[in-house]
Symmetry: D2
Subunit: 359 residues, 4 copies
Amino acid sequence: MSQNQTRAADVIRAAVLGATGYVGGELLRLLAAHPDVRVTHATSERRAGQRVGEVFPALGAAGDLTLEALNPERVRTQADLVLAALPHGASGPVVGALVEAGLPVIDLGADHRFPDPEVYAAAYGHHHPRPDLAAQAVYGLVEFARDRIAKASLVGVPGCYPTATLLALLPLLTRGLIDPADGVVVDAKSGISGAGREARTESLFAEVADSVRPYKVGAHRHQPEMAFHAEALSGRPVEIFFVPQVVPMSRGLLAAVYGRLAGGVAPDAEALRTQVAEVYANAPFVEVLPAGRWPETRWVDGTNRAVIGVGVDEATRRVVAMCAIDNLGKGAAGQAVQCLNLMRGLPETTGLPAVGTVA
Amino acid sequence: MSQNQTRAADVIRAAVLGATGYVGGELLRLLAAHPDVRVTHATSERRAGQRVGEVFPALGAAGDLTLEALNPERVRTQADLVLAALPHGASGPVVGALVEAGLPVIDLGADHRFPDPEVYAAAYGHHHPRPDLAAQAVYGLVEFARDRIAKASLVGVPGCYPTATLLALLPLLTRGLIDPADGVVVDAKSGISGAGREARTESLFAEVADSVRPYKVGAHRHQPEMAFHAEALSGRPVEIFFVPQVVPMSRGLLAAVYGRLAGGVAPDAEALRTQVAEVYANAPFVEVLPAGRWPETRWVDGTNRAVIGVGVDEATRRVVAMCAIDNLGKGAAGQAVQCLNLMRGLPETTGLPAVGTVA
Amino acid sequence: MSQNQTRAADVIRAAVLGATGYVGGELLRLLAAHPDVRVTHATSERRAGQRVGEVFPALGAAGDLTLEALNPERVRTQADLVLAALPHGASGPVVGALVEAGLPVIDLGADHRFPDPEVYAAAYGHHHPRPDLAAQAVYGLVEFARDRIAKASLVGVPGCYPTATLLALLPLLTRGLIDPADGVVVDAKSGISGAGREARTESLFAEVADSVRPYKVGAHRHQPEMAFHAEALSGRPVEIFFVPQVVPMSRGLLAAVYGRLAGGVAPDAEALRTQVAEVYANAPFVEVLPAGRWPETRWVDGTNRAVIGVGVDEATRRVVAMCAIDNLGKGAAGQAVQCLNLMRGLPETTGLPAVGTVA
Amino acid sequence: MSQNQTRAADVIRAAVLGATGYVGGELLRLLAAHPDVRVTHATSERRAGQRVGEVFPALGAAGDLTLEALNPERVRTQADLVLAALPHGASGPVVGALVEAGLPVIDLGADHRFPDPEVYAAAYGHHHPRPDLAAQAVYGLVEFARDRIAKASLVGVPGCYPTATLLALLPLLTRGLIDPADGVVVDAKSGISGAGREARTESLFAEVADSVRPYKVGAHRHQPEMAFHAEALSGRPVEIFFVPQVVPMSRGLLAAVYGRLAGGVAPDAEALRTQVAEVYANAPFVEVLPAGRWPETRWVDGTNRAVIGVGVDEATRRVVAMCAIDNLGKGAAGQAVQCLNLMRGLPETTGLPAVGTVA
């Protein structure tokens, strides 16, 4: 039919690199519902030759694609655009080859989140493989970089913790609501899928169930990422003390940002809430709750939404802003698709779930 | 815009009665994604006057509707079609009034699952409120009643346990694979949302977590429902011993049906699998796994899918067929929307999720 | 046998008031293993006449006691000592009558946690029923009040959040490690059993699973309790901003206390750790981890232990101390039994579990 | 003190081989509370040199033992008795050496569960390493082998599934309540700790949560074990069709045994219940529920108890018996300690928990 032919001509052929991790799987799930994208290529080193559906039976008909080992030349012939969900360090060289071959790349790994290769090197303990690309990549925090993403050929999708933290923190900084000199504490709780699908003892059900587990307190690699972009996007440097914790759930992430009310600002939760809401007035996936209400992670499960609550304690002038996201959604695959939409001139919301489940 | 106006004219205005339970909430979630339905009316006795989004923040923009107390006259003016998710016994009288007023009704409660009011009375311990309607209602097990549902004005959506059980059992009966005289055992495991959203001690987190709980062994009201329709749809009476159990998960249901291989049938799992797959050759939501593989409930979470595995033990000639569904999806709201599609002449799959999540 | 007769004469006959909540049930569990205590009386208004084992089958032989409605006169004749796990507000009058009748009382409710009735009234919104008793009660935070508890006839057992918070916070204050003028933030995560065994929608499995839920942010009644006793036990007033959160587990509680390193103190985690460890040198149930390690709640599940980790961020001079307890153990029933031991001159550890499970 | 010296002289010095798996860890937990046993030696190949407490912080003071690589000679000098929780196949040769050296051994692995090496070979796919020892080992299902265990020098502790299944099934067989010729179906649900502590993708939290997973249907190695001992202990051969399933919990196991009422036996649940209860009249850890009640796994969590429910369906003459155990307790480490008690002439209940938790 001619209509279908016309449509097929417009469809974006996407490659998903690293398709058998949780982020890769979520990309496949989301893209299966995207009206303008077709996943034509998916890679996995260990499962090459198998069908996606053997790895992820939940994907149903969307699992009907054979996994291949990663070969940049083959990617180039199979796809118009690349989403890379590769392990830390592995994406750098591959992405370089693909970008040079003219393919737009959305990198969900850590290698293109820092324009400054020195900052990257300090955080990750080794030189950046392609300093030239680091500087060229756009940090894909959509709500604060729409225009730049729309023009980018290489986007570094923010980490899950930085996404939730920055969405809560940036309005406080840009509106002058907290005192940057006082620093902030970020106490974050995440589902275990954030640790990936590697077979590790500490990710076993019987190790994660019935427990809260703090880890890498003050030493997580997402801390320099948050600090760098908090300053880059607000113009105000702020010290961040970051405390990540695993809680017994598969998905979901809540970041609580604690700061001190700036001098001269009244401790009025409703007024703070209004200011934060103004920042997100045109952000279709961000909801700012009424003062006195706080987000639960299950509200955003499976969606690309971010829900924010903000408050202030009159006695202590302590400000708290919380942001709930799905770590695999807005914290990874969802935000990547949001970037894809902008890069292709599509409405930001195209194909992205915004309604969650009630149980 | 004229295109939108045209579309608006075609949109089905749906009322959801009992919108604040888990089934009601899932209906709202699914219908928010349905291209041809708009929920124009939602009722709740206890939460009347509140926004749906106050009850279910997960629904996001789909929660922007004010709940009203149930008033059949008001339903009639607000909606073209009714989905009723009311407590046992409450739906009978209301549904009667609405059907008489000419509204098509899809009843997710138990009152219209038995054409024979006597069977209903035996199972539920009281007379059927409207024996005339009982006989008129169509049992909405889509895969075995498409044509009748398409013509129905009143559909009784099957219970969650009967849906999974019958999807596994009926092919064994209709193809003569098991001996009906031997009877079957159904050992089923369900998430707790099947018990509803009532505040009951036995549904508390700390009572359900870390436990398997058998209940109403051999005495559950879904047993007569299964038995009645197993015979009605296969022509072969079969005694069912039904054992329901709650396991620590919010959603999902697995029914294992155990029977005895019929005399003269070879104990060949692959051959059995082929026969079952033939029954569902044209069922877009039913997948029959290769012999030797078995379904997990998380594969169907959030979807309208049913995944079936079938096997046979050579030594004991014991046959087992398992079916995994989402109790709120194919086991309730999803199947209701599937019925709606058929009643309205839409493709059966319209607006229904078939791709699940990977974590 | 004469030995048994001698022993029986020494056994403490204990009454548990409010025996069918989670705290009451945990008291019955712990006391069943206590060599010097026999529970001779257990009360419940709603389940009076039933056996304890009908309510809590997990208790096995320890459930072989018939519940009675609360009658102070009857308690007096049946018991030598009382443990009251009654709802807020209900314990005041009952406890008064029992104390006047000469019975030692350990109150696990909130009514005897504040020596100052005005502070109580501000926190709970009504006058204290017995201001005279409020002043007489000893706050049962064992590690900081052993001597006073040993002489007390009325002990108010600390709340779960204050227990974990104060165990982490008090060493920082008494050793001058943090600047009290800067205030502290307490971000705490609790299992749902802390909300009690009432049948409430928000405690249902399907509402708690897969979610983190902040609640009563800056407005929880445990905040004034923490603040009052932090000052009372350290001599240093400190403002506390308290943020409680429910995470998907039945038991367990982790409190993270964030403060600012005091001027003149070096940001040396090992040195801080040593100071905190010194405070608990003689506390058999408190373990202070090596610097750089952090406690998980499952390590203390089912025990009376508290595990503490402490650290400091050099860049921001931010101090964090975390304490993990079992909210029903050290956070309620365990600490009550620890108080009982002291009140009776028994070794503090008598009958209390200190070894947890590995899965 | 002389009393302590006397006691020390009596203490059994136990070695735990394979101490860092879930079964090994549970042994350490249980033995820490045993008045007559001291664990003097614990082995692990991968964690040799570390403290037990580094692997299992939950063990508290019971973790204060350094792990060593397995060396039978060293075991012999350090211990009076051995508990081996080694992987399948690894225990055979080691146990042989230790038994020959005169040490009593309790083997929690599979290598000494079959007196007939041919049955072992068929189930495990390789020859038995020591056929002579296979014949000498006693199957440690305590309730049916007390006298033989008391005299044994080598005990093979039953698997978790066979323990629960045989406790439910054997009374039905020995009392002639079901027809063995009809065979039985065993539908069992287990927590994931039964799969061990190996780092495997399918045991990850995000793979196990929110799901029921059937596996090895009709093909699990515990099936021949059940069938062999069902016949050996009852004198009646019975075909078993065994269906294991993982449910989202760390611990706990429920086995449902479905059979057909024997000819001539009245379908009277109360009478059946009485007969089953008689079988366990002298079994301190087995409770048989009143007719119409069914066990939940959380009732036995952390204990050595087994709770059994039994019923019969009049219409279908179908009998069901269910047994709930803790797979790490009565299903492994608890039963091993029960065997140890018998082997040493101690009361069967010594040191074993019989009271579970209420949340």
